[in-house]
């Protein structure tokens, strides 16, 4: 199951496009993952591995970095890795074709939010098990998927340089309240913003 898809610029972590959570139930839980994803984007740099799988409890992040753009997906841990990476490759080729040249120039977050439409369609293909069979590419092109680095998201986020002010607050709060109701997190966040 693909829960969350995000595309960001590696240089500064600026989110470029994303797909809305579809499911009401998971939508609430996703809040936490989403902020993890945002933090992750801030962490990434030129030296980061270009393909990586990050475990986050029952969920797993997969990302690829191509031409300075990171494509990230959050799936249930059971979701086939192969499919996930094939999905990301699909997104990459389409996104690069549509918006690749504009990526370095934009400053507004989610400048390419309309790419969501494509993400959703592609996602549907990969989720639907019948349609999946038609994706011949996965069997051939991604044989080396097993060799992709695996790490834990928490560790990745803890590691390295000090976090910036606001990010720090996010993390702290997130830790502190992660056990509490997810709606609360949302509220907190909103009040912080408003």
């Amino acid at each position: 199951m693909v829960l969350l898809t995000m595309i960001a610029r590696v240089a500064d972590g600026l989110p470029l496009a994303a797909s809305m959570q579809e499911d009401e139930q998971s939508g609430r839980d996703l809040q936490q993952y989403q902020s993890q994803a945002k933090q992750l984007f801030r962490k990434l740099n030129e030296q980061s591995p270009t393909r990586c799988t990050l475990e986050a409890g029952a969920m797993t992040f997969h990302y690829i970095i191509e031409q300075g753009v990171c494509y990230l997906v959050l799936c249930e841990a059971a979701f086939p890795k192969k499919l996930a990476f094939a999905y990301l490759e699909d997104l990459h080729s389409e996104f690069d074709e549509q918006h690749g040249k504009k990526v370095p120039t934009v400053s507004r977050p989610y400048s390419f939010i309309e790419f969501d439409t494509f993400i959703q369609k592609t996602k549907k293909l990969y989720i639907d098990s019948r349609a999946r069979r038609n994706l011949g590419s996965i069997n051939t092109e991604l044989q080396d998927v097993q060799r992709i680095m695996v790490a834990n998201i928490e560790e990745v986020l803890q590691r390295g340089e000090a976090l910036s002010g606001s990010a720090e607050i996010d993390t702290l709060n997130q830790k502190k309240y992660s056990s509490e109701s997810p709606t609360f997190n949302k509220q907190h966040f909103l009040s912080y913003l408003g």
């Binding site: 809305m20 989610y110 939010i113 949302k186 909103l190 913003l193």
Partner: protein, 1255 residues
Amino acid sequence: MSAPAGSPHPVASARIPPMFGGAATSGAVAPTDPSLAPHQQNGPAQSQMQVPSGYGLHHQNYIASSGHYSQGPGKMTSLPLDSQCDDYYSGLYAVPTQNVMPPSTANQQAGAQQIYGRGPPAPHLVGSTPGSFQGAASSASHLHTSASQPYSSFVNHYSSPATYSANSSIASQGFPSTCGHYATSAVSNAAYPSVSYPSLPAGDPYGQMFTSPNAPTVRPVKDHPFSGQNTAIGHPLPLPPPPSQQHHQQQSLSGYNTSSWSPSGLPPTNDSLTRNHTGSLSVSATNPTSTDSSSSAVPPNVHLPKSSPVVSTAVSGAPSSRMPPTAHHPVEPVTSVTQPSDLLQQKGMQYGEYVNNQASSAPTPLSSASDDEEEEEEDEEAGVDSSSTTSSASPMPNSYEALEGGSYPDVLSSSASSPAPDPAPEPDPAPVPAPATPQPSKMAKPFGYGYPALQPGYQNATTPLHSGVQPSGSVYSGFQQCPQYPGVSQLSSSLGGLSLQSSPQPESLRPVNLTQERNILPTAPVWAPVPNLNLDLKKLNCSPDSFRCTLTNIPQTQALLNKAKLPLGLLLHPFRDLTQLPVITSNTIVRCRSCRTYINPFVSFIDQRRWKCNLCYRVNDVPEEFMYNPLTRSYGEPHKRPEVQNSTVEFIASSDYMLRPPQPAVYLFVLDVSHNAVEAGYLTILCQSLLENLDKLPGDSRTRIGFVTFDSTIHFYNLQEGLSQPQMLIVSDIDDVFLPTPDSLLVNLYESKELIRDLLNALPNMFTNTRETHSALGPALQAAFKLMSPTGGRVSVFQTQLPSLGAGLLQSREDPNQRSSTKVVQHLGPATDFYKKLALDCSGQQTAVDLFLLSSQYSDLASLACMSKYSAGCIYYYPSFHCIHNPSQAEKLQKDLKRYLTRKIGFEAVMRIRCTKGLSMHTFHGNFFVRSTDLLSLANINPDAGFAVQLSIEESLTDTSLVCFQTALLYTSSKGERRIRVHTLCLPVVSSLADVYAGVDVQAAICLLANMAVDRSVSSSLSDARDALVNAVVDSLSAYGSTISNFQHSALIAPNSLKLFPLYVLALLKQKAFRTGTSTRLDDRVYAMCQIKSQPLVHLMKMIHPNLYRIDRLTDEGAIHVNDRVVPQPPLQKLSAEKLTREGAFLMDCGSVFYIWIGKGCENNFIEDVLGCPNFASIPQKMTHLPELDTLSSERTRSFITWLRDSRPLSPVLHVVKDESPAKTEFFQHLIEDRTEAAFSYYEFLLHIQQQICK
């Protein structure tokens, strides 16, 4: 009412508290878990509370700000400012009267210098002596330009008391000062070029002020306080029989004058000047050093700013030149007769009045107590209050004493001196000097009689008067004014002319004797008062269209606010359509680190690198990025950034401001297709509208749309691209609603456009033969919620009857026989909490529910409306809708839909309002959900939504001279951009009651009161709400009355700023929402209440008090040019049948409806040229359009109507109403100044108020 609430008297009763007190909430207050609150507050609110240390500093802040200008970036020193002052005064105000100007400009500069000289070094004085001289000075220094003059003059007054002793000069100077208000308006002109009323009104109000020849009407009341008043109120024809009145008049002329003169030694009624003069005068004369007096002396100082400009405008306008002479003429005979008796009576009266005065200061509490359930609000506040009332009231007696001591001789001299000043102005003869003289005295009686009852005969009397409107006005003015004028001059003469210099009074404070004021309504539209700030701040301040406060002068303490008995609150129109809006994209949005305020024009830069928050006074760093100004492409000028140059800006938010990726625009239509709905035929109109506007729906390529229809079952439509035609899926299990397919119900608008079009074409005919009469609205809404919750968006519900099946079913609660009950109106609240709960769920999922109720029968809007109220939706109601039988409603739906479908929309929004430390917000009005104490959750925001907030003053504002309010609206645009729209409003703080009254924004106040009254109606009862509205007038006017030194119990005096208050309140009482005794359908009433809660001020005011124009004689005189079109500007007429002549045609602008009333005797020329009909008889009964005829009058009329239409989002429907047609009741119900079977006429209402005050 709220403010008034803190009635000092402990006996105060429960009238107000629930509604106007702190706790009431309009939107549901989130049952926020208290434990959560602190966390949520995290950033802003909490820290706001925690900054006491910074608080004390703020004065330096302001001084620093001037310092900043002088020493800041470029050694600019005060020069620029100075020169601005000069420009300002010389440029704008140096106009006509040179004789007045020289001194004032001189003062001006002196003042300015004083300011700069004094400001910086004297900060400590400021805080320590509140209300004392220094306080005034500091505020003056802060208000650079505007305050300067008063200050200087004040200084002058003290330093060289003998300077101004010439009577005439004083007279002429003092007089113009009355016009302060208009001067200000002129200033506003500068700021808002579109405003167009400077000179016209300046003349008019004067006319009005003095038009009142009704002195006689008051007198009888006075003479027979009981009989007169009682009759007035009890009987439809209140006034005593003519003969006796005449008698009174003769007699009372003297009695009247004396009685009123005695208290202050000043003329009776409209002595705008007098009051202040006396106040300050007495003070200065008797005990210049005492703090008491200084506190009362300060006020004039503070308003002075207004008066300084005043001089010029007033001068330019007619009044100054015109009034005196007119005054002179008619007066003389009268005065001559009067004076002697005056003198005789004076002594006796003085004592009597003095006693009265004391009584009157006591009555303030008393009256509220006797008013039984007066507002009590917080007890402690009230307790403190009462003590402070007495203490601060003590200056009043003092000043009375002082006054009397000082004025007594004056009075004597006055009689002598009164003739003296008159000759001086005479050179400029009154427009209608000689013939007018007899007129007023004669006319006076007819006025007195005719007015209350509005007898037909009365009109006859009026017509001649109004034939020459202006002149007659001035004639009357003369009549009224005569006593006043000498009064002022005598006083000044005796006191060496100090008073006038020290306390010219702003126009807004000019006392208006309401019962004598014939034409209270100005002929030009009423504009928002401009806060009394210096020119720089005025220019920067937020447009009143977006952001208004009921008091443009914020009282320093809650006690002062309580004393003023006025509601304090904000009216917001945060998302209105703007033609110009600076949009700022930057990596860092600069905000205060402690209170999270957005940087704004009213912060101060301490130096290049630091700025001080104007709300919590914390000093923040200026981020590096902010040093660069993208507009000028220069570095190092942070104060020139657009954020600091505009009080309304929009930021493109960073991803920090996003909880999730910006959502797409999602529109779901939930449509009633039961038999009733099909019969009404709305589907055709809706589908047609949608088809026409499908491409104009706001949104990006992700936009989604879906349809659900329902009767006793729920029908979904699969519109997945690739299908050959729309698929209808029926769910008949309404007890447990489920979605028949997870996706493809909300589809991408562009990918499935063909299918959508097919569906829209098919829908109107799909159910034509349905026999299903039931309506399962509740389950359909549950389904809608499920569909929308993954994304959020907008649900548009079309309902035509009472929901009769499943969850949320409703029963009829209306008893048609009770529609005109004067007693209890029940069922204003919801019958079930189903809709509210559903709305809260929707709100949580960023979904707003908009309700279109198109029903011919009772549909329990009170319950249904909850679905929109709490989800930040909007409500439209079309009573007795039928697409064929009721074409005007059909047209209205069509027009509304066009606007609704294509207007801007913001998604997943939150709005937070912040205000300067010391103020706090307690009750919000509008459609939203209150998520935490001050965070409004708005699933959708639309440009037609208005909000109101009630404020209280928690901590004294003594050590600040300015307060600010900031609204931040964070929303996702339909293009998927996260944006923050920020409005910042800055207002001065004042310490005297007079200043509070001077700054009242009566329209804002009335709108806030209306909101409060709606809450009150629902939470308590309609009659409570009505009482509270009346009490708001009674309390504020009696509170005002007790502040003016020569308050007469018999006269109903209001400051000019509040003169429309009783009229508007009366209008509210006759509004559908609050009226009683007139047959009003419950749904109509509830809808009116919904509108009051959610309409922005501009629309609400038209709804409360429509504008009436005569349009059969439009001329180009005073016309304005808009887009190469000449738009005539006919004067506003008061809402009274008295204004309607059978020979005329009138246009009434009720906001959402226009009526054109055609009199029976209307000239055929007009009917032919404008309506295209040969004569009156041939005008069709239902005419909703004006033909485009190639005649001048047609062109003018259409151009005027188009201009009115363009000024509002919803294009109103036009009704041509023939006199004698049944539809005319619709028109006549808006003539709120007239008496109906169930309600007072305006004049009766005034008498009622007066009686209440005297009680």
